[in-house]
Symmetry: C2
Subunit: 388 residues, 2 copies
């Protein structure tokens, strides 16, 4: 299989846009920016992959990729929608990587997109519940805040993790977001404000939870020889690994075995270790999630994720810069767009183009994205490692 | 890229199962049969791809592949949902092919699945309309019967195609289905009955339209060397090509440019010509569609598809055996399952295991699947060519 590079990225500002821009306009903006960044024309694009979750609630799901790519002149080529819940566009990115690594294509466009606002809450909940086993968890009302609330309780009990430590994740990520022009909530929040935010699922308050957002993100990838024709700063894909859950109802709720397995293979494929990672965009759908993932990704020992946040080790330019973009918590989480938005952040950081939130001398970045949740385990986990 | 083979297939009976079996049970049956047919164990499967459209209406979409594959012990490996409307599982099949051709995996399981009955009609229509440009066609009420009704009218006007010729497609496919134990409607229908069936969208009556069905179909594919370990009758994938529409509002409604383009590349990749095809499963969502596709696939000249049916040239063992399985019209059309179900039929035919509907000495088979429809063109078209 051939080496593959990211040669261009682009995204919309994430936000709350219940009417306009719609799916087409957001996708157009992200694709246009990524193609311009990559210096490619529509005729250069040989295939498209789109990650989008919609389908319930009336937002345009099935044809989102085709309609958005049409807006920038990418028509006729194979366009494939990938859907793996919140990991949809990291899955799409990986499928695109496989197609280029295989030698089937040289230049491929990947889009992640989601239109979440503007739906009645009931429809939104119904759509979100689709990411669980409907016959069991769905009917039990096991929504994601409930699941992560239980995980947080267990982490507190087993390792002494505190509500304050979780809240500090939100404070940090909102601070990072103030330096990100694409963020949904680029606002500082105080520890007190997070702790006093309305309770959603104990111990998780509103500001411990990522928002419902709209947005799109795109990337252009290319084979090595072709990448060099278009850009002087290709970013190498060292690893793109995906796993699914094992559906083993486990007694240990404080670790995601799926993340451990996926990361292990990704580190092996990339020939790097956790200590080599300069920055990581991790799937902080809830504050406890970031703490958990940082442990499962090998950045900190199990149980020490809370303390690491408290000691500032996850801030920009500290031990490992976690979610310099603001993460799902503050950059926002338009589910289908998140995977590629993480790739955008890695690319900007590795190129040294991240402005005030730049991680100094970033060489290697990791993106961790999870989708769906069932029987005590994730449905899908993607770990992607990029190198400048 | 490496040569890839189909080493096992299996499917459920298609039908109307509003309560049970559910998504998990149908998927389990199809996967189990395909894995048994391929002689593989769960540990042999390195990745899974699932084509499923659901998501609207409450049927399990996002996790369908994971939940179904879990039932047969396929867990932990990357499982990717592909969704391209009615071409979802032909897209999934192609993505699986790319991953094996790339050298990333040796053995991959592909599932197509759909649970369509049991939904209120309003929900079903809403889900189906998602396959069009919602802001334009969706709001205009451009449902698929309407689109194909217009196409039929134009074909009649331009080429003198008759309602009787269209009805003969339904008569033929229902006859073929009587020999297929997996068919939803294994019943003979008379020409008169088709012509007198309730009008849906002139000139298409109820029996000119495919039914709403439930069902699942699965296939196991493998690289050449590995395929030989598991089976003595590997079926070679000569071509797996996908295209999207060009969104060019065209004046000529009597041809799908997307099919012409996809087929052309598939024939080139497979190094065969239309005359070499012994049998084809084509996307006969409506009777006029089969006539149109037979022309666009190069089996007959443009405008002569109606006459060809009338003269019996598309019957089993005639010039080219079209939809020996009964096709979407009579085998049924559980949308996400259709692409892989077509592959099942090709494999059985090419192995000489198709019983009473066997195409004598079948060497090369073609599957044609289309998904979504927008701006006068298909959203997705897949053409797969297999050889025994």
């Amino acid at each position: 299989m051939r080496d593959v590079y990211v040669i261009g990225v682009g995204m919309t500002k994430f936000g709350n846009f219940p009417i306009k821009p719609g799916v087409k306009e957001m996708g157009e903006e992200a694709c246009f920016k990524a193609m311009k960044d990559a210096n490619v024309y529509p005729k250069d694009i040989e295939a498209g992959y789109c990650g989008v979750v919609a389908g319930a609630g009336g937002a345009q799901g099935p044809l989102a990729g085709n309609l958005a790519m049409k807006q920038v002149g990418v028509v006729g080529v194979p366009i494939t929608r990938c859907e793996n819940g919140c990991a949809s566009s990291s899955t799409a990115f990986r499928e695109a990587w496989i197609s280029v690594a295989a030698g089937l294509y040289d230049v491929v466009l990947v889009l992640g997109i989601e239109k979440m606002t503007g739906l009645p809450t009931r429809e939104m909940l119904k759509a979100m519940t689709q990411g669980s086993d409907l016959e069991i968890e769905g009917f039990m009302g096991m929504t994601f805040p409930g699941v992560f609330g239980m995980i947080a309780n267990r982490h507190m009990k087993e390792y002494g993790t505190t509500r304050e430590q979780m809240a500090m994740v939100s404070v940090k990520n909102h601070h990072n977001a103030t330096m990100n022009p694409h963020a949904h909530y680029p606002k500082e929040v105080s520890l007190e404000k997070v702790l006093k935010s309305p309770m959603i699922a104990y111990p998780l308050g509103l500001l411990d939870c990522c928002p419902i957002s709209d947005g799109a993100a795109a990337a252009v990838i290319a084979s090595r020889d072709v990448a060099k024709k278009f850009t002087d700063t290709p970013i190498k894909i060292l690893a793109a690994v995906q796993k699914s859950g094992t559906f083993l109802e486990k007694l240990n709720a404080t670790t995601f075995d799926i993340t451990v397995r996926t990361a292990k293979e990704a580190y092996r494929m990339a020939k790097v270790e956790p200590k080599d990672i300069d920055l990581a965009e991790v799937h902080d759908c809830f504050t406890i999630a970031e703490i958990l993932h940082n442990e499962d990704l090998g950045f900190f020992k199990k149980g020490e994720g809370g303390k690491a946040v408290e000691e500032g080790e996850t801030q920009i330019n500290a031990k490992v810069s976690i979610n310099p973009s603001g993460g799902l918590l503050a950059k926002g989480h338009p589910v289908g767009a998140t995977g590629v938005a993480q790739i955008c952040e890695l690319v900007w950081q590795l190129r040294g183009e991240a402005g005030a939130r730049q991680v100094d001398g970033a060489q290697i970045g990791l993106a961790h994205c999870m989708g769906n949740f069932s029987h005590g385990d994730g449905g899908t986990c993607n770990v992607t490692i990029l190198e400048r």
